[in-house]
Subunit: 246 residues, 2 copies
């Protein structure tokens, strides 16, 4: 063992390990036209896992909070005005990143994952020619780099829970939307395991935070739909109560 290697080992085992901290985003959107739940994947441009699909991620920079980093990757990949974002889970198991030396000394890699929901219609993919970045239907997601399939699984569960218990749907719907728009969003994400349209409608209207704008929209055949607006003020008193939206 050379002198340099010896020194390296001593230094690295002396104190607690240094971590590189990455942020990985599970970014979801709903294509209501095709009734599909989509997740944003990017092709890795570097080792490890070069050429494999992964969740968009980045290492956290100096003078940047975790959330800052999460917003930064998101902004690097898509342009979007409306979104919901929150922290998901932190993965720090040994050996989750092949850049860690196998003897488990030296630098460690840790991933703080974030979960985001964006409006599909307005989400514009950024990048020259949009190569190596794509919306994947959730059922068609391939084997991903690192432990990203696991992160995605976490994210999917969180999405379903959030949709059921919080008003995140309205962060991602257009300003004005019909009740079928809303219903479709719910069915696409949650499957069809809940109330039929009629009951859904009655329930959500009774909650009292959807304001009828009086406007109508006609989409091909059929009766025109009334457009509603989410009334944040009317919702405020319900904010801290356990609410079910389905």
């Amino acid at each position: 063992m050379s002198g340099r290697e010896l020194k390296k080992t001593i230094v690295e085992t002396a104190g607690p390990p240094d971590f590189k901290v990455g942020v990985d985003n599970a970014i979801f959107s709903v294509d209501t036209a095709q009734n599909r739940l989509l997740v944003l994947l990017v092709m890795r441009q570097h080792e490890p896992f070069l050429g494999q699909w992964s969740l968009p991620g980045t290492l956290v920079r100096h003078s940047e909070s975790l959330e800052d980093a999460a917003y930064r990757i998101l902004a690097e990949k898509i342009r979007v005005n409306n979104l919901y974002l929150e922290q998901l889970y932190t993965f720090g198991d040994l050996g989750r990143d092949p850049r860690e030396s196998p003897d488990s000394y030296g630098v460690r890699y840790l991933s703080v994952s974030y979960f985001a929901l964006v409006r599909f219609e307005e989400a514009e993919l950024v990048g020259s020619g949009v190569r190596g970045i794509a919306w994947y239907p959730l059922e068609e997601v391939p084997q991903l780099a690192f432990d990203h399939n696991k992160i995605l699984q976490y994210g999917h569960r969180r999405l379903r829970n959030k949709l059921e218990y919080s008003p995140i749907a309205f962060e991602v719907l257009p300003e004005l939307f019909s009740l079928s728009d809303l219903y479709q969003l719910y069915t696409t994400v949650l499957g069809e395991n809940f109330a039929d349209y009629s009951n859904f409608r009655a329930r959500i209207l009774k909650l009292g935070f959807l304001a009828d704008t009086g406007l109508k929209v006609s989409r091909g055949a059929g009766r025109p739909a009334t457009l509603y607006r989410f009334d944040a003020e009317a919702f405020a008193p319900l904010k801290d109560k356990p609410l079910v939206f389905i």
Copy 2:
């Protein structure tokens, strides 16, 4: 600026920052005898925040996962057989640790927090003479080191949610318990904002995962209470359904 300082700056700004990763635990228990919700605090023995109360925490070591570290601190502070533990949230804002240099270059500190619930009666505090470690009633918690008051707030919210929607109560009750034991646990944690004893009883029994052992226990005056056991097998099919226990 000396040569040494210049070099330091260059090196540190070249790549992404190194993080020291800490784990902090919000460890709760319920003193049913006194109807109090308690949290475990330790007195800091080192700078920063020397002599101030804090959540028990540690830096993650080489060859140790985040969860390993969480279990390690817990074991260092209390001896306990039954517990529930899960990851809470990761705090990585700039300046959350005073050891970070103020110009926000150099090493960063990040805290992955864990939430635990342990059985108070069997939890034995470890340490010579049990100095600098104590169960604090939640309402009497003082100003804590770092951002630990915030972590504690997160933990408390998680505790209430978990108790309402998951069977964590049974991880922390004795093997055999009466329905009033269970009810008292719930009232202590959640306040009294839910069903009265009679309705609570009817609901929880109807769920069908509490097995009547036939045994009775008499505690002073009053009719002896039937002892129940949590039947994990009977609960299994309900595991993935949204359940409300209150």
